[in-house]
């Protein structure tokens, strides 16, 4: 098969490996490289991820009895003689710094795995380094292309864009069926970098598949100073659902612009990014009510561990900010990596990879939606599943799938005057 | 007697202002022509039209048989007209030597030949002690001398000098007159604007007088200075 060919290629790629050998770290700690945006508009999200990662590091390094998940009760990684985890940070400014920072973390800092807050573009370049040095890279870059490239050391714990988008449309279908929502038309709004462009493509396919017609397909400049013309076009097209993939700045601007133009869409379905941030609440206040976003986790999941982790985070790590799905996702990546290292009992990349592919995790100790951590050969966790949240009372509340929903989704949204 | 420059009905307007109006005269090879006239008469404007800094509103400039009315300054320079600016335009960040060198490159392809030529021109213009000086730091008179040097270094057939003698003391004037005569001997025709009548009188073969944009008089220095109109418009009372 295609994949096998690629894998073979990669095998000999790693054989004629660079002359620079990485020393097996003999220090006490196991170092894990964390790449986060430290400056720029996304650095707040970066900070939150950092805090959440610190929480997991503390859970692993200290014995934390009240959180009943593997590695919590012991100190450090038991299979490595109790060696502790240490995070080494790198800055994500752009895709090319992702490459050099990943490299620096691996070669200069001795990181045995890389995780962090990545966009797909940054993941791609970071993967150039991690593949080269044979170091596991766990990223929530959601572009499906990442798992199609034949990367050997790449893993994704949560869904990719196809799953998210598919879920969004399934939700629309459900609304039509159960609530006679009569949704026929959608408009696609996506920012013009990799993140938005990819999602728009998947959305187009899905819309066709589920029989929705696209009445407007807007690509906009992600550093736009205004989104007037975009919003005017939407208002004119008046779709039943606006599907958006945007970063936080644009989400805020769109919602404000909609309001100023007295345009109230019946439904706004966001694809994480800006729709899955804590800043949404502080910036938009009540205007954020009713926005939907795909997600893979939510504080209202009916799992006791979720609330426990959420509280621990909120009280000790984040100055009272609630845990957001994307923050949990990235920090869970770190946790999963630690699980694999522990299971492997070594920091050798191939051992970790092996452990990753055969990760054993007690199902009763899960704190995410889905069935667990079962990675397929391309590095995608098949045990994960997507869900959809709507903002209600200043919180993300699960509305789909039915099995785990916290409340009945609101459709259509009230107009601005009624709100 | 070969006519080297010919102005035919040259007119230049700036918006409503007519700076040059229907000016016709010609210059013969080897001559030194003085151009005088009240301030604002349009002398510099005429220079600018000849050298291509701006183009005439109507009329023609014929140089050495070619119509150069619409040509660009660098083309005109290549054809053999060198000019100085009334308000010196030195290449400020460069040294005096480099200033002249750049001009020498107009006729010399190789740097070393141009350097040799530069040295000659600099010596001729008495700038030798300033060669390493930044042109921007020269004082006004020195800049004017540099202007002459640069114009000369392009090896022109016709040299346009715009008030290069202003502000020279007696001895220096003598030197400058000397320089001009030497330039003429080397076969260069000169058209010079000058307010210092002493200089105009002593070197020019002919004098052209402009006033309010029009050609007021033309003739030998003596003729012109006797001209009542000229005395009234320009010289004011007696001549010295």
């Amino acid at each position: 098969t295609k994949y096998n060919e690629k894998q073979i290629e990669h095998n000999d790629y790693s054989q004629d490996e660079s002359p620079i050998s990485i020393k097996e770290s003999k220090e006490e700690t196991v170092k894990i490289g964390v790449l986060l945006p430290m400056s720029g508009a996304q650095s707040k999200a970066g900070q939150e991820v950092k805090a959440a990662m610190n929480m997991f590091v503390d859970i692993i390094n200290e014995s934390t009895d009240d959180i009943d998940i593997p590695l919590a009760q012991s100190q450090g990684l038991p299979n490595l003689g109790g060696r502790k985890i240490e995070l080494v940070y790198g800055d994500l400014k752009s895709a090319d710094t992702a490459l050099s920072e990943a490299e620096r973390l691996i070669t200069s800092e001795g990181a045995v795995g890389i995780c962090g807050l990545f966009s797909s573009a940054n993941t791609k370049t970071a993967a150039v380094s991690t593949e080269k040095y044979g170091v596991p890279l766990i990223s929530e870059g959601t572009s499906p292309t990442l798992t199609q490239k034949g990367y050997e050391y790449f893993f994704r714990v949560f869904p990719d864009d196809t799953m998210y988008v598919e879920d969004s449309f399934l939700y629309l279908v459900e609304l039509n069926e159960t609530k006679q929502a009569d949704i026929k038309t959608v408009a696609l709004v996506s920012e013009d970098t990799e993140f938005g462009k990819n999602i728009a493509n998947v959305e187009k396919e899905c819309a066709e598949k589920y029989g929705f017609s696209i009445v407007e397909n807007i690509t906009y400049s992600s550093n736009a100073t205004n989104l007037i013309s975009e919003s005017l076009k939407l208002k004119k097209a008046d779709p039943d659902v606006v599907m958006m993939s945007s970063y936080i700045s644009d989400v805020i601007l769109y919602i404000k612009t909609f309001k100023q133009l007295n345009y109230s869409p019946k439904m706004i379905m966001g694809q994480r990014g800006g729709f899955m941030t804590s800043e949404l609440f502080t910036a938009l206040g009540s205007d954020a009510e009713g926005l939907c976003s795909t997600s893979a986790w939510s504080l209202d999941l009916q799992i006791p561990l979720v609330a426990k982790l959420g509280n621990l985070y909120k009280e000790n790590y984040s100055d009272g900010v609630d845990m957001i799905a994307d923050v949990l996702k990235c920090s869970t990546d770190l946790y999963v990596l630690c699980l694999a290292i522990n299971q492997a009992g070594s920091t050798d990349a191939d051992a970790i990879k092996e452990a990753m592919l055969n990760l054993i995790y007690p199902e009763d100790k899960l704190f995410i939606a889905g069935t667990g951590f079962n990675f397929n050969e391309v590095g995608q966790n098949v045990g994960t599943s997507a869900l959809i949240c709507q903002i209600k009372d200043g919180k993300y509340q699960t509305v789909y799938p039915d099995s785990i929903k916290a409340y009945d989704g609101l459709f259509p949204l009230p107009s601005w005057e009624e709100k | 007697m070969k006519v080297i420059l010919e102005m035919k009905h040259a007119t230049k307007k700036f918006g409503g202002l007519i700076a040059n109006e229907d000016i016709t005269f010609s210059i013969i090879e080897g001559e030194i022509i003085g151009m005088v006239g009240p301030n604002g008469a349009g002398k510099t404007t005429l220079f600018n039209s000849i050298s291509g800094t701006h183009s005439l509103t109507s009329g023609h400039v014929i140089f050495d048989g070619t119509d150069i009315t619409k040509k660009k300054p660098y083309e005109i320079c290549k054809l053999g007209i060198g000019r100085t600016f009334q308000i010196p335009q030195a290449l400020n960040e460069m040294s005096v030597f480099e200033n002249v060198l750049v001009a020498s490159l107009n006729r010399h392809q190789s740097i070393s030949a141009a350097k040799e030529h530069t040295k000659k021109v600099i010596a001729m213009c008495g700038l030798a002690s300033f060669i390493f000086m930044n042109a921007g730091d020269l004082n006004v008179m020195q800049k004017k001398r540099l202007e002459i040097a640069r114009a000369l270094a392009t090896e022109p057939k016709l040299l346009l000098l715009d008030e290069t003698m202003a502000g020279l003391s007696g001895v220096e004037r003598k030197e400058a007159i000397n320089l001009i005569q030497r330039i003429r001997i080397s076969g260069i025709t000169i058209l010079m604007i000058e307010h210092v009548m002493e200089v105009v009188m002593s070197v020019s073969d002919r004098v052209v007088v402009l006033s309010s944009g029009k050609l007021l008089a033309e003739g030998t220095p003596e003729e012109v200075t006797q001209n009542q109109q000229v005395i009234q418009a320009y010289l004011g009372g007696s001549v010295h």
Binding site: - | F14, V36, G37, P38, N39, G40, A41, G42, K43, T44, Q86, I87, D137, N139, V140, M141, Q142, E163, A166, G167, L168, S169, G170, V171, E172, R173, K174, H195, M197, A233, Y234, L235, G236, G237
Partner: protein, 234 residues
Amino acid sequence: MLFVEHLSAGYEGTPILYDLSFHVEKGKIMALLGSNGAGKTTALRSVVGKIKPTSGAILYEGKSILNIPTYKMVELGISMIPEGRLLFGKMTVADNLCMGSYRIKNKRLIQKELEEIYNIFPKIKERENQLAETLSGGEQQMVAIARGLMSRPKLLILDEPSLGLAPNIVKEMFEFIKKINHMGLTIIIVEQNAIDTLQFADYAYLINSGKNVLEGTGEELLQNKKVKEIYLGI
């Protein structure tokens, strides 16, 4: 009124003036002569604080003005008309003149001064609303002088005012300088037009290479053989 004693000055390590002294009495016209590059302009610039002298003293009305910044000179009553004009090219002629009286708050005085100046230079009035940079060289020189006068100075410093002016204008200007001098203005003038200048100057200095060479009343210098030979070229 102004005493300059043992002045030494220069540019970034290039000394130009060595031990130069001159002075001017109230109500008199003093001329500074010297060949090109002698340092006349440098001396005047030192007086108005444009360059910091390395040593020496400058006393104006009995007080040292060595460390006073240039812009305060106008307040003290010193106005300089620089070599090379330095007009505000993108401003109209009227605005240029108006800037000359920047330090005067009395509108009436300004108006009066303006009228006087327009009398002397009718040409300027014609060009009142033209941008200064589009004026002819000579016109610009007139505006520069006019602007200098607008601040109603007590001491007027002129650096080669006749530069680029038509002969008839030069004559008029010299007449004018005499006139304002009679009205009580003290004047320092640097000129290459030495014969005319010496004729009306009360006192004059000849400098060379930044040092005093000769001094005396206008007449004395006019008669001096050395001046005639070396400087006037007669």
